[in-house]
Symmetry: C2
């Protein structure tokens, strides 16, 4: 299934609790869209959030955010996950 | 150790092979800076790359990219990793 990274540039008043609550709502809603919000990272100071999500297409990922909490990402980038190689020397 | 997400907005000519090679060089260099580039995601079409990295501070993460391949991120955001809750219903 395609993988995407979304980026929220600035969510006003962002707290760890608020973003955890929003993410929990994504998890509640996502099944009906065939979406899997896998992980997220956030910064309270700047209000930035990154979400890693598997979805059939970008529209399905957007639909989950819209229905769950209405906080739509500023960017939604189709991504491939990098292959982590073993360093040739460490 | 602090966690950061960096974002490269557009690397011209980005390919999966090129980004894998650059990441491998990060892994070779990072030990001397106490840095751990943990994962990355990329999009060949747009040239965007996101790197998740643990580092003592932002400067150390930047120093690794500079020495390894010179491709510095456009943003380096201190982040917390989200706590993945179990949905109350699925």
């Amino acid at each position: 299934m395609p993988l995407f990274m979304d980026a929220h540039d600035k969510i006003d008043g962002l707290t760890a609790e608020a973003v955890a609550g929003a993410h929990a709502k994504d998890l509640e809603v996502q099944g009906q869209y065939g979406v899997d919000y896998k992980q997220y990272w956030f910064d309270e100071a700047s209000g930035k959030v990154f979400c890693l999500v598997e979805a059939p297409d970008a529209g399905a990922a957007i639909a989950v955010h819209r229905e769950a909490h209405g906080l739509l990402a500023d960017q939604l980038i189709p991504v491939q996950e990098g292959v982590i190689a073993t360093p040739s020397h460490a």
